[in-house]
Amino acid sequence: MDKAEILSQLQEIFRDTLDDQEVTLAYETTANDVEGWDSLTHIHLVVSIEKHFKLRFTAKEIQSWKNIGELVEGIISKK
């Protein structure tokens, strides 16, 4: 699975988890750019991403992503 494919799937997960079909993700997107992406929904997003991609992040990894691009890289490194 390449980066673009992961980004596309992440966008669907974000739309479903944040209950907002307008969410559009880019590699540079941060939590500040997405309405509704807060500390609570971050946990929901992580769990949904883990379930979708069948992987498990460590606590350190979860806190380390500065933007969506880093999250995509994190997923690739786990696959």
Binding site: A31, D38, S39, L40, I43, V46, V47, E50, A59, I62
Partner: protein, 302 residues
């Protein structure tokens, strides 16, 4: 009176801006009474902190540490569908008898009382109706006092002649509650409530967020029934899907709490259910967002 609420929010903004922003948004629908109640309690709380040679900055650090614990517990809960602690013995050893953990956890909870709208909604439900429900009570018992906000409020709202007794399993909790209330009329007892006995029944009993700390909450509800006078009233609250470091018993839905109350021979007079985030019930169900249940209950009529 100082605007402690604003002071705390400003301090939080400097340390965790996104969280502070969310707290402001979540509570912006509340009225002046909320601000006044918050400042009254925080003022009382700060007096305790100063007597202990510390201050609100310390308390805010405790609160943030508690939030970090909660995030970990929530993540594990959503992954595994269960709370991480399984036995009272384990929680007693790791938390209730661990002064460091109890310290930041209790101070964190004390601050959260007026920072989280769902906590305030429950408190408001209690404070608005207590005087009416306890009008004929001569004695008040609180099981699991935490930081003491509910007992502090009851002392203010109930007549002078009411006798107050507080039971809590943790010495630390009793200490902070005693410190904040700072009133000699309260009899404090450090004891597991299941081992607690009284020669007389009580006209009003508060059990706020205790059931989820037990392996079998029905045992406590039956104990409550025994401790409550025939015409007594109890205020009880418990959370659904609310992982915390010291929560053991998982309520998956509100109806399970109602059923247990009924099973214990008690009856709900009035209840309040609050989702802990401003989300729809459907969203709360899907992501197991904590839901808070509170009720005034009485002995079931035969």
């Amino acid at each position: 009176m100082n605007n402690y609420l604003e002071e705390i929010l400003l301090k939080l903004e400097s340390k965790r801006p996104a969280h502070a922003k969310k707290l402001r948004l979540n509570t912006n629908y509340l009225n002046e009474l909320y601000v006044s109640r918050a400042n009254d309690f925080y003022s009382q709380y700060e007096k305790h902190l100063l007597r202990e040679n510390t201050d609100l900055d310390f308390s805010i650090d405790c609160y943030l540490r508690m939030l970090d614990d909660m995030a970990i517990e929530r993540m594990n809960f959503l992954r595994q569908g269960k709370y991480s602690s399984v036995s009272l013995m384990e929680v007693e050893k790791c938390i209730y008898n661990n002064p460091d953990m109890m310290c930041y956890h209790m101070h964190g909870l004390a601050l959260a009382q007026f920072l989280w709208f769902d906590q305030y909604e429950r408190y408001s439900f209690f404070a608005d109706s207590l005087a009416g429900y306890a009008k004929s009570a001569e004695s008040y018992l609180e099981i699991g006092c935490g930081h003491g906000l509910y007992c502090y409020t009851a002392i203010k709202l109930l007549p002078e002649n009411v006798k107050f007794e507080v039971v809590d399993i943790s010495d630390y909790s009793i200490g902070i509650c005693k410190g904040i209330i700072n009133d000699p009329k309260v009899n404090f007892i450090t004891k597991n409530v299941l081992e607690y006995a009284s020669n007389s029944t009580f006209g009003f009993i508060t059990i706020g967020e205790v059931l989820e700390h037990l392996e079998d909450p029905l045992v406590l509800l039956k104990k409550l029934k025994d401790l409550l006078s025939d015409d007594g009233i109890s205020y009880i609250s418990a959370p659904v899907n609310a992982p915390m470091i010291d929560h053991i018993y998982l309520f998956n839905e509100v109806q399970e709490i109602r059923d247990l109350i009924n099973q214990a021979g008690l009856e709900i007079i009035e209840e309040k259910v609050v989702i802990s985030e401003h989300v729809s019930q459907q969203y709360a169900d899907k992501f197991k967002v904590p839901v808070m249940f509170a009720a005034f209950i009485k002995q079931k009529q035969q």
